[in-house]
Structure formats: C-alpha cells, structure tokens
Subunit: 235 residues, 2 copies
C-alpha cells in the first residue's frame, strides 16, 4: 500500500517531504545518481532506474502499490511512465504532471486518474491570492495540517441518507445544526456548478463536507454508502 | 484599483483567464509581440514592453494599481520587476513567482509580499491528492466559484470580540451554533500550528472562518476590528 514517486526534481522532492511529514510509506524512482544520493541522505527509500521500464516499476513494488505519482519535468517520460504503470496494474491511482497544455489529454489517455500542470495551478493560486486570499490561507493551513482537528471529507451518500431529496440550501441548514458544513455536491464524478442553492440532492450523489473530526465521523457513519464504509474501516 | 500582470506565459495567461471570469480589471505587460497579440485577440488590455523599466510600469498605471503579479519564467527578471514596482509604489500588494528555491528569499528582499513556486505548490498539491483528496476538491471548487454562497474570510478580531479569552475548542463550539466554522487562528501574521484546540484566543489575533455568506457577514459585523470594518465597507 505504498506510493511510488517517479522523478525527484523540484516537484518530486516536495512530494517526498510532505509524505514524510504525513508518515506515508513511499519509494522514489529516479535515473539520476545525484538525486538518489540526496534521497538516501534524507533517509528515503530510493531506486535508481528508468521508471518507464516495467522491470524497474516491478522492482519498486508496483504490484503492491496503491498510488503512483509521475512528476518528472519531461512530458514524454511522464506519458511513457503512466502507460507502463497502468499496463502493469489496473487498480492504481495515478497522478501525473503535465508541463505543457497539450500533454494533459495524452496523460489521461495513457491512464492517469488526475493530471495537473504546475503552471495552471500556480496561475489559479496567484489569482486567488488577489480575490480570495482567505481561501488560500485555509488551503495552506490544511495542507500543512495546522487546523487542529478540522477535516474535509468527500462522502458518497447512502440511498437511505436523509438529505436526499432536499435542496442544497435545506441540507446545509440541517447539517449546520450537526456541526457539519456542506460545501459542494458531486454528481457523476464532477462538482456541480453554481447556482447550487436550489439544487435537489439525489441518489448516487456525493457531498464534500468540512467540520470537526467528531462531527464529520458521526456524519459519515450516518450518511455514507455501504461500499465506502468498508473502505473507511480498512484504512 | 486594477491589477498588473507581468509576463503572459503559462502562469500569466491562467491568471488573466481567472481574472476575466471574476471580472477583475487588469492589464498585461509582456515584451513578446506574439503574446500581446494573443492578449488583444482575447480582449485583454495589454502593453508591449519590459516590465523591469519604470516608464513601462508607469504606463501600465502602477500609481493607481492595487496589485502587481510578477509571473515570468525568468527569475532574474522577476526580481528586477519586483524591485522596480516596490520602488515606484510603497502601498502595493506584490505576488511574485520563484522558479528556483534560492530566488524566494531574493524576491522577499526585493519587496514581494507573497512568493510562490510552481514546483513547490504542485508538489503539495500532488501529495494532498493522495492523503487529503477532499481538501483539494474543496479548493478547486472554491477557486472555480462552484460552492453556492459559501465563503471563506479572514477576520481581524475586535478587542471586544466575545471569543477572545476562549480556547479554540470552545470558540469553535460557540460559533458552530451561529453557522460559522472557525478553521484557523493567525497571530503576528502566521497561522498557528497544531495542537491548537487548547490554545486561547487573545487580543490582536485574526481568525479564518468558513460558512454561508449571511452567517459570515453577521459574524464579521459582530467580531471584526474597526480598522478592517472600514476596509470592508470601502470594497
Ligand atoms: Ca493535512
Ligand atoms: Ca471563487
């Protein structure tokens, strides 16, 4: 259940730092000997080799991995690594870095679950610093685990969940009394757009909630689908 | 009260797109003619020229600007633009992009209020997709204004605010009944680290709160410092 980080450049090394702080088990794969030395000095598990190759990914334990993060600064490599990883294991969460816009589609086709561009994210981030600075503060705080016992959770609603059939507005009011803030509604995998206040929550929807750990846990046990509950208990 | 975007590369163009969606007034400054053509095609206000030069920044209206976003892919340019902008106007919010780690300190010294690296942010983002995916969803939703009337606000507490003297835990419980979630506490400009539950809120602190617009507005009017109230009303 470990993570494999492919590429130990500026992005990959930040991922490794964050994983270390969150006590996640991971291994770094990189071709560059200097990068591998840096990993070992920091006490990271590391493997020198070309992550586009099946044997290297196998050596990194891809059969038992849950997640692969493809983070090199070379888009062609990233596409190739993504293809190899997906080919070797169907049940794998792959997050891949796109340095150019046209790479995003290719990474998706190659099998990445999530694709992100350092430049797109930074643009959003810099723009939001201007017109939504508190949101950026919140994001940074939660990214750095500095918010006490406050958590954000995405919950797939059970067919029996009481908020099904309610409007977003009504559900938000109901849940606030239970100490839970309903921040977004997901349907068919994507967040529904504004205006969502009159939108009716239906079977199969997921909700994104934020609140204190105890309240969110209570909410999950009450409203969460059975399949997800099992996942929740496994963790 | 407009924004000046220096550099229309992958980061700068994303900022311009976001500003357009949020109906913010901005002008792009870039040396490259092709980039300026793209701006004009998209209906953006744009000025061809070297943003490290005082006369170009003046032509972009820096005297009346509130914010400058320094977003080129060249660190030396970014330092030089930041220096020029700060030199021309003391009261200015400057957000600058650092492509290499060692540039961060230099941009701060040059006068940037906020410095960010595309690679650091992307690393955080990819890591959080693994262990805090709901937070990333929330951030994306709020960045794209898809959360109905939910807002995040940073509030400088008035000396008379009732939650002063309370622990974070007690304040969170009090505020939840008013439909406001207290997510973080700031003191001397930085977010306080965990465990914050027993921490006592003191005079001069700021809080970051999330909730529905009506509740947050009520909270602000009750707890906000006088100086900030004035700013709030000006906007
Ligand atoms: Ca965290
Ligand atoms: Ca927004």
């Amino acid at each position: 259940n470990h993570c494999i980080i492919c590429g130990f450049g500026r992005v990959g090394s930040q991922i490794a730092d964050d994983f270390t702080e969150e006590q996640k088990v991971f291994i770094v794969v990189d071709e560059n000997e200097q990068n591998i030395q840096t990993c070992l000095q920091r006490g990271y598990l590391a493997l020198q080799g070309d992550a586009t190759r099946d044997d290297i990914l196998r050596e990194a334990g891809i059969e038992h991995a849950r997640t692969v993060l493809v983070a090199t600064d070379n888009d062609a490599h990233n596409i190739s690594i993504t293809l190899s990883a997906r080919h070797l294991k169907r049940e794998l969460f792959i997050v891949a870095r796109a340095n150019r816009d046209e790479t995003k589609v290719k990474l998706k086709l190659a099998g990445a679950n999530r694709v992100l561009s350092p430049y797109t994210i930074s643009g959003h981030y810099m723009a939001n610093l201007v017109y939504e600075p508190a949101m950026v503060e919140l994001f940074e705080a939660i990214m750095q685990a500095e918010t006490g016992d406050l958590v954000v959770e995405e919950v797939e609603l059970a067919p029996t969940a009481k908020i099904i059939g309610q409007t977003m507005r009504d559900a938000q009011n109901t849940l606030l009394h239970q100490g839970v803030v309903l921040v977004a509604l997901k349907r068919d995998g994507s967040i529904l757009s504004t205006p969502t206040q009159r939108l009716v929550i239906t079977r199969g929807d997921s909700v994104v909630v934020i609140g204190k750990l105890a309240q969110i846990t209570a909410f999950c046990h009450k409203h969460m689908g059975a399949a997800q509950k099992q996942v929740f208990q496994e963790e």
